[in-house]
C-alpha cells in the first residue's frame, strides 16, 4: 500500500518528469530570469549600449511616462473589448454547435476549428487584404453604394479588434463547448417541463451552468489578447502600439533591450495579477456548486 514511503518510489516521479522539467527550465525559466535581470540594467549609447548595473530607471521611466500609460491602457481596453466580443459571439456559437447534430455539426466544427491550423500571421494578412481602402470590403461596399468614401479599417482599433476576435473566438467556443458537453442533455427539458419558456431556460439554467466555461474561455482570450503581437503589429502598425509591439520595438528598433525587458516584465506581472484575481473570484463564486 504505502509505496510512496519507499525511497526509490519517492525519487521516481521526479526522475520521470525530469526531461520535461529540464526542457521547461532551459527554455522557459532561464530566458525569463534573464529578461527579469536585463530589465534592471540600463542603456547608455555613450557607454556602448547595455550597462550591467542594477537600477530601477527603466521601471521609473515606463511607470511615469504618459506615453507608456497610453500603450498599457490601450492594450487593456483592447483585451477587454476582444474578450467581451468573444463571449458574445463565442457562447451562442458554441451553443448552436452543441444543438446541431450529424454532418452539419462536423462541418461547422471544422469551419470553427480549421482556422486554428493556419498561422496567425497568414490569417492577419488575409484581414489586411480585406481591410485596405482598396480592399475587398471597401470595394464591395462602394460598389453596392452603402458608403461613398472608403471606411478606415487598417490601422484602427476597429480593424485590430475584428481580426483579434476572429483569431481568438475558437478558444472561446472550445471552452464553452467543453462545459456544454458536461451538461445533462435533459436539463433543458427539465426546465421546460417546470413551466419555463425556452428563453428563461437558456438564461436561468443553461448559461449559469456553463458559466465556468465562459469564464475560463474569457480568461484565455484576455491573456492571449494582452500579449498578442502579430495581429496588432500588422493591422495596428506603429500608430496603434500595444505593449507587446512596444517591447518589440524597444528591442529591435531602439535597441534599448533593458527598457524592452522592463515593458515585457510589467506586461507579465499585470497579466498574472489580473488572471489570478479573476481566478480567485471564479473559484469563490462557484466552488460550492461546481467542483
Amino acid at each position: 500500500m504505502n509505496t510512496l514511503s519507499n525511497p526509490v518510489n519517492q525519487v521516481r516521479p521526479y526522475l520521470l518528469s525530469s526531461p520535461a522539467l529540464l526542457l521547461y527550465i532551459g527554455l522557459f525559466m532561464i530566458p525569463l530570469i534573464m529578461t527579469l535581470m536585463l530589465s534592471f540594467y540600463s542603456y547608455d549609447v555613450d557607454r556602448g549600449g547595455v550597462v550591467a548595473e542594477f537600477s530601477f530607471t527603466n521601471y521609473v521611466e515606463v511607470l511615469s511616462d504618459s506615453y507608456f500609460h497610453g500603450i498599457f491602457f490601450r492594450t487593456f481596453a483592447l483585451s477587454i473589448a476582444v474578450t467581451v466580443l468573444c463571449v458574445l459571439l463565442g457562447t451562442p456559437e458554441a451553443y448552436i454547435l452543441h444543438r446541431m447534430s450529424g454532418r452539419w455539426k462536423s462541418i461547422c466544427m471544422l469551419a470553427i476549428l480549421g482556422p486554428l491550423l493556419v498561422s496567425v500571421v497568414v490569417r492577419t494578412l488575409g484581414w489586411a487584404i480585406l481591410f485596405g481602402s482598396k480592399g475587398v470590403i471597401n470595394e464591395s461596399l462602394l460598389a453596392i453604394g452603402v458608403i461613398d468614401t472608403p471606411i478606415k479599417l487598417m490601422f484602427t482599433n476597429t480593424g485590430v479588434i475584428i481580426a483579434l476576435v476572429h483569431v481568438l473566438v475558437p478558444f472561446m467556443v472550445l471552452s464553452v463547448w467543453a462545459s456544454l458537453q458536461k451538461l445533462d442533455p435533459m436539463i433543458e427539458n427539465a426546465g421546460l417541463s417546470l413551466g419555463a419558456s425556452p428563453f428563461i431556460v437558456l438564461r436561468q439554467i443553461v448559461v449559469p451552468q456553463i458559466m465556468p466555461g465562459i469564464l475560463s474561455g474569457s480568461l484565455i482570450v484576455f491573456a492571449l489578447t494582452a500579449s498578442a503581437f502579430a495581429t496588432p503589429s500588422i493591422l495596428g502598425g506603429r500608430r496603434l502600439k500595444v505593449v507587446a509591439t512596444t517591447a518589440y520595438d524597444e528591442y529591435l528598433g531602439t535597441l534599448n533591450w533593458p527598457l524592452g525587458a522592463a515593458i515585457a516584465v510589467l506586461l507579465l506581472v499585470a497579466n498574472v495579477i489580473i488572471i489570478t484575481t479573476y481566478n480567485k473570484f471564479i473559484e469563490r463564486k462557484y466552488s460550492q456548486a461546481f467542483k
Partner: protein, 353 residues
C-alpha cells in the same frame, strides 16, 4: 372517460418506427408502469406525453383536453428524469422552488410548499445544500420533490431508480409508492425491471417492439399473459411448442413432442399450434412415475430463500423452483417425477414468425 388517454400514438424517426399504434387509458390517481426491453419505445412514449417529442400520428388527451400539440411548458406535468437533471447551480431549495417561481406563486406560499414537499421526501435539513453535495438517493428525491411541488396533473418517471444500488432502490420504491398514494397523483413509470413494475403499479403495460403487448393488473398479467413474450418478460417459465390435439370435459390435451399433456380449455381450435407454458414455482417434485413426467436433475442452485433445479426430461429441460422451507434432499443425477395441476398451465398462441 379516462384521465390520460393515448389514442393511436405513432412515432417514426425517418423510416424507423419507435412507437406504433399505442392506445392507453389511465385513470385519475392510477399508477401505471410501462415495462419492456431496451429500445421498445418506452422513453419515446413518455416523451410524447411530456411534449419533448412530437407524435407522427395520434392524439394525447389529459382531462379531456387534447394536448398533442401543446408546448411542454404548458402541460403541467411533473417529470423525473433518469439522470435527475437537477440544476447544479442552485440549492436544493431553489431547485424545488423553480417550478413555483415560473408559475409566479407568491413567495410566502411558495416557501411553504417547498418546505412541505422537502419534509415529505425527508430532505428538510438539506435545503441549502447543492445537488453535488447529496448522495444518489437524495438527489433522486430532490428530483421527485421538484416534479411534485407543482402539483402536476400527471407524474412521469423515466427509470428514476435505475441509477441506484439494490438496497436504496427498494427503499425508494416503497417511498415513491407512499408519496404517490399520499398525493394521489396520476403516475406513469417507465422501467425495464419487471419486479419494480409489479411492486409499484396498479397496472402494468408491457411493450414489445414499439407496440403495447398487454396491459393488466400485476397479478393478472403474471398469471394470464397473452403470449410467450409477456410470459417470459415477467418471469421465468417453461415453454414448449405443441399443438391442440383434442378438447373435452373442460380439459384440452396438447401434443408436445409426442407426449400428451393436459391444460384447461382455451379458445384455441383443434390442431392449432400453441406454446405450452408452466412456471417453475408451480411444479412439484413427486416420486418417479407418480407425476406428469419423469426427469433427471441436471443441476441445482441454492439462492438463499429458494432452490432452482434444472431437470432433463424427454420433452426438454424444465426449470423448477422450490422454496427453502424444509430440507430438500434431491441431488444432482437423481431421477424424479414432476407434477402440476392442469389449471396452472397456460396455452399461448404461437407468434407467427
Amino acid at each position: 372517460m379516462s384521465f390520460l388517454r393515448l389514442e393511436g400514438l405513432v412515432k417514426r424517426f425517418d423510416d424507423f418506427v419507435a412507437v406504433e399504434g399505442m392506445n392507453l387509458n389511465v385513470e385519475k390517481g392510477e399508477f401505471v408502469s410501462l415495462l419492456g426491453p431496451s429500445g421498445c419505445g418506452k422513453t419515446t412514449t413518455l416523451q410524447m406525453i411530456a411534449g419533448f417529442v412530437t407524435p407522427t400520428q395520434g392524439r394525447i388527451l389529459i382531462n379531456n383536453q387534447d394536448v398533442t400539440h401543446l408546448k411542454p411548458s404548458k402541460r403541467n406535468l411533473g417529470i423525473v428524469f433518469q439522470s435527475y437533471a437537477l440544476f447544479h447551480h442552485m440549492t436544493i431549495f431553489d431547485n424545488v422552488a423553480f417550478g413555483l417561481k415560473m408559475r409566479k406563486i407568491d413567495k410566502v406560499e411558495s416557501d411553504e410548499r417547498v418546505r412541505e414537499i422537502l419534509s415529505l421526501v425527508h430532505l428538510k435539513d438539506f435545503a441549502h445544500r447543492y445537488p453535488r453535495e447529496l448522495s444518489g438517493g437524495q438527489q433522486q428525491r430532490v428530483a421527485l420533490a421538484r416534479a411534485m411541488v407543482i402539483r402536476p396533473e400527471v407524474l412521469l418517471l423515466d427509470e428514476p431508480l435505475s441509477a441506484l444500488d439494490a438496497k436504496i432502490r427498494e427503499d425508494m420504491q416503497t417511498e415513491l409508492r407512499s408519496i404517490q398514494r399520499t398525493l394521489g397523483t396520476t403516475t406513469i413509470l417507465v422501467t425495464h425491471d419487471q419486479s419494480e413494475a409489479m411492486a409499484l403499479s396498479d397496472r402494468v403495460a408491457v411493450m414489445n417492439k414499439a407496440r403495447l403487448a398487454q396491459i393488466d393488473k400485476p397479478f393478472a398479467l403474471y398469471e394470464h399473459p397473452r403470449d410467450s413474450f409477456v410470459t417470459e418478460f415477467l418471469g421465468k417459465s417453461n415453454v414448449f411448442e405443441g399443438s391442440i390435439k383434442d378438447a373435452n370435459d373442460g380439459l384440452s390435451s396438447i401434443d408436445v413432442s409426442g407426449l400428451n399433456l393436459l391444460a384447461n380449455n382455451t379458445d384455441h381450435t383443434i390442431g392449432q399450434a400453441v406454446d405450452f407454458s408452466i412456471r417453475p414455482e408451480k411444479i412439484r417434485f413427486v416420486a418417479q412415475g407418480k407425476g406428469v413426467i419423469d426427469g433427471t436433475i441436471s443441476s441445482r442452485i441454492f439462492l438463499g430463500n429458494q432452490w432452482v433445479f434444472q431437470v432433463e426430461t424427454s420433452i426438454g429441460e424444465f426449470s423448477v423452483v422450490s422454496l427453502n422451507t424444509s430440507h430438500i434432499d434431491i441431488d444432482q443425477g437423481s431421477v424424479v417425477g414432476l407434477d402440476w395441476t392442469p389449471s396452472e398451465v397456460r396455452l399461448l398462441t404461437r407468434e407467427v414468425a
